[in-house]
């Protein structure tokens, strides 16, 4: 047995594993609240968050996430679980990228610890961990009080750029060797995470990440070209 510390493969679910979906998860949840009247008001919050996502800087993305999920305030844990399951089957499973799944399979074959990072709620994305055979899943969780969502996300909020400091702390807690670890992302917000690992890789990158990959000479994997 090797004495070397284990290494990990970090996958940012949005982009690296999952294609953009026709409907965002917060919008889907907001549209399916129990009382018909509150659906539109909740959807308004999601619309504002979407606008901010497009217009805002990288640093504001955590705020965007918080705002987007705020509309779920008062939603019971039963509805969250059912809608999460619906969303997973309707929008997540059919939109998984084969290129991302291949990369996960390869990482597992290479003995790497597979870590998924997702902006989605645990009620949506938890089954994905078992589906792809990941070791860990870091995702957003809603604060619950009396079995109802308060609308606040629990820390740490996944949504903004994952900092290199976060990756180092995470690796230190689990005895992981970041230099031998891999990172897979698709968007500009993933740049810092990818910078923290020894083997970064951009998967179908957006223009911002594509520029960064080019500057830093990171490999780029494109769907349909492998």
């Amino acid at each position: 047995m090797s004495d070397r510390p284990a290494a990990a493969a970090f996958f940012r679910v949005e982009g690296a594993l999952l294609r953009p979906t026709a409907m965002s998860a917060p919008a889907y949840f907001a549209l399916n609240t129990q009382a018909v009247k509150s659906r539109l008001t909740r959807l308004g919050g999601v619309a504002i968050a979407s606008g901010m996502r497009l217009a805002g800087s990288l640093g504001e993305q955590a705020v965007v996430q918080k705002l987007a999920w705020m509309g779920l305030r008062g939603m019971g844990h039963d509805r969250l679980a059912v809608l999460g399951d619906e969303y997973y089957h309707r929008f997540v499973l059919p939109n998984l990228k084969s290129v991302g799944l291949d990369l996960v399979a390869r990482a597992r074959k290479d003995g790497l610890r597979v870590v998924l990072l997702s902006e989605l709620l645990d009620v949506v994305v938890a089954p994905l961990r078992d589906h792809v055979g990941a070791d860990e899943l870091l995702c957003n969780r809603l604060e619950m009080r009396d079995d109802e969502a308060t609308g606040r996300l629990l820390d740490p909020v996944v949504g903004g750029p994952v900092s290199g400091q976060w990756a180092r702390t995470f690796a230190a807690e689990r005895g992981l060797d970041l230099a031998r670890s891999q990172g897979f992302g698709a968007r500009g917000v993933d740049g810092l995470l990818l910078s923290a690992v020894g083997l970064p890789c951009a998967v179908d990158p957006d223009p911002r990440l594509r520029r960064m990959a080019k500057d830093l000479d990171w490999p780029v994997v494109q769907s349909g070209t492998r």
Binding site: A35, G76, D78, A81
Partner: protein
């Protein structure tokens, strides 16, 4: 007593002789089937079955044993030997609880007397507001006749099934106690005089509607909510004074099975079935208080509790009352029940067999609980008034006079449409009226009262079990994950087993397999076993056991 000193359930029942009433009913069937499945060493089970208009008692029972899904586990286990297995253990006695000594002959009573260990009394009329002409003889006199029969035997005790809702207006925390002569509104009443009052109400003149109204009024004077809880409540009080050992099992709302006979099984129209059926319609505003408890128990949890309470009764260790409930130990609120109903419907209508209207509209219109007395835009009385008003306006509409001259040719067509719309509105008004009456019937249980039924005695029965026996007889209600139960068990179960009845069909049965089932009387005679407890004939008394 510690579990190690207590005879096991199997040991308690081995060789025992029971008489069971109401085995053609929902809970009685499950009890009998599970008893025979899990405790085949039982001595004999006599089942008291009423002759129906179409068939005799034996034929009626045999058809149920052959076709009811409840007996499927037994049929599957014994295959070709099923009839022989039943014949060895079960004897059908034609009788009727509404008759003295349950309609049994003196010879039969004399034959039962030395060996009968207990009468398990399930027979009852569970309609909320049944005609007292039917409800009193079955629910009240029936209990007295069972007590009379038990008193004729050497040592038979009675396990009487009732309902948690005999608590009536006495809501809040409801303990497992029984005080004869104390009405739910805490008024003391004379039990004997009340029996006469009930009989007089049952024999009352006029229509069934008049008798129901009079009986309801009397029920409310004492704090009971309807004819059912009133008659069951008085029956408990009468039995508590009978000179025989009596234990009362009070289930809350009995619904789909968790495990036995198989997951999801249900029968007949119970409380949740019609309510869920209603929520599946375009009806959106449900008069219910979200914070109130909604106490549902699976039928096999009741069957288990009855068996354990009966074992305790046979051993002389029984408490007076066992409540089989979840509101105190695994509570679910009305608001959550409605939400789970919404989600169940959503899940169901998302499948392919739903109509386009159901899939695209109903599925996304979730029901919300509202105050029954609030006059909101979609309150039923308002909708009824609206339908009535619109119909009146249409009736007086002079279509011909309103049409411009060039459109006169359309007068006949439009007049036909006007007549059709008037008819549709009349039907809608009637439908809304029926809906209102149905909701009025359920209102005390979903809106006006909040009961938290204590179930410590039932939980103690579980605690006394060994680990092995707990798997078969343990309390399963406390471990229920309500989301899983509603979405995966209750809703699909009701849809399969109950809604065909609401839609005017028959209860689903298993296909006939082979020749008709016939029970042959066993050759061996039953040897009476000495009772495990000392026969304690208590004198009739007004005092309750604490």
């Amino acid at each position: 007593m510690s579990p190690s000193n207590t005879p096991s359930v199997a040991q308690t029942f081995a060789g025992r002789h029971l008489l069971v009433t109401g085995v053609t009913g929902f809970v009685g069937k499950v009890f009998l089937s599970q008893l025979l499945y899990e405790l085949p060493d039982i001595g004999r089970v006599d089942v008291l079955v009423r002759r129906s208009k179409k068939e005799g008692a034996a034929a009626r029972f045999n058809r149920i044993a052959a076709r009811s899904p409840v007996f499927r586990p037994l049929r599957e286990r014994h295959g070709a030997g099923y009839a022989a297995f039943l014949s060895e253990r079960v004897r059908v006695l034609e009788g009727d609880v509404t008759e003295p000594l349950c309609g049994l002959s003196d010879d039969t009573v004399a034959e039962l007397a030395p060996s009968l260990d207990a009468i398990v009394h399930f027979a009852g009329l569970t309609d909320f507001d049944a005609d007292p002409k039917l409800a009193v003889p079955i629910n009240v006199d029936g209990a007295l006749h069972v007590a009379e029969l038990a008193a004729k035997t050497e040592h038979a005790a009675i396990l009487h099934t009732s309902t948690c809702f005999v608590a009536g207006v006495n809501d809040g925390a409801v303990p497992e106690t029984l005080t004869p002569g104390l009405a739910p509104n805490q008024r003391h009443y004379d039990v004997d005089a009340e029996l006469e009052t009930l009989r007089a109400l049952a024999a009352g003149p006029g229509s069934a509607k008049d008798r129901v109204a009079a009986t309801r009024e009397r029920a409310r004077e004492l704090g009971w909510l309807n004819v059912y809880t009133y008659t069951k409540g008085v029956a408990e009080h009468l039995l508590a004074r009978a000179p025989v050992e009596v234990a009362v099992v009070r289930p809350a709302i009995v619904e789909c099975a968790l495990h036995y006979p198989f997951t999801g099984w249900n029968e007949g129209l119970n409380t949740t079935g019609p309510l869920l059926w209603l929520l599946r319609s375009p009806f959106r505003f449900f008069p219910a208080r979200a914070k109130n408890h909604f106490d549902v128990v699976p039928v096999d949890a009741v069957s288990r509790a009855v068996t354990l309470a009966l074992a305790a009764l046979l051993r002389g260790e029984a408490e007076r009352v066992y409540q089989v409930s979840t509101s105190s130990s695994n509570p679910m609120r009305m608001g959550r029940a409605i939400e789970l109903a919404n989600l169940s419907i959503r899940k169901d209508l998302g499948r392919g067999d739903a109509s386009r209207f159901e899939r695209m509209v109903i599925r996304f219109l979730d029901t919300v609980p509202v105050d029954a007395d609030a006059d909101h835009a979609f309150a039923l009385p308002r909708l009824q008034r609206f339908a009535r008003g619109l119909k009146g306006a249409l009736e007086g509409l002079p279509v011909g006079a309103l049409l411009p001259r060039p459109a006169k040719g359309l007068e006949k067509t439009l007049d036909d449409k006007r007549v059709w719309a008037g008819f549709a509105l009349e039907q809608a008004e009637k439908g809304l009226g029926r809906l209102q009456r149905m909701l009025d019937l359920y209102r005390p249980f979903i809106h006006d009262h909040d009961w938290i039924f204590g179930n410590q005695h039932t939980r103690d029965l579980d605690r006394a079990l060994s680990a092995d026996e707990r798997a078969t007889w343990g309390n399963i209600a406390d471990g229920i994950d309500w989301r899983v139960y509603w979405l995966d068990i209750l809703y699909p179960g009701l849809k399969q087993w109950c809604w065909p009845l609401l839609d005017g069909g028959d209860a689903p049965e298993d296909p006939a397999d082979g020749p008709p089932l016939v029970l042959v009387a066993p050759e061996r005679a039953l040897t009476p076993k000495p009772p495990l407890r000392k026969p304690a004939r208590r004198p009739a008394t007004q005092e309750a056991r604490p």
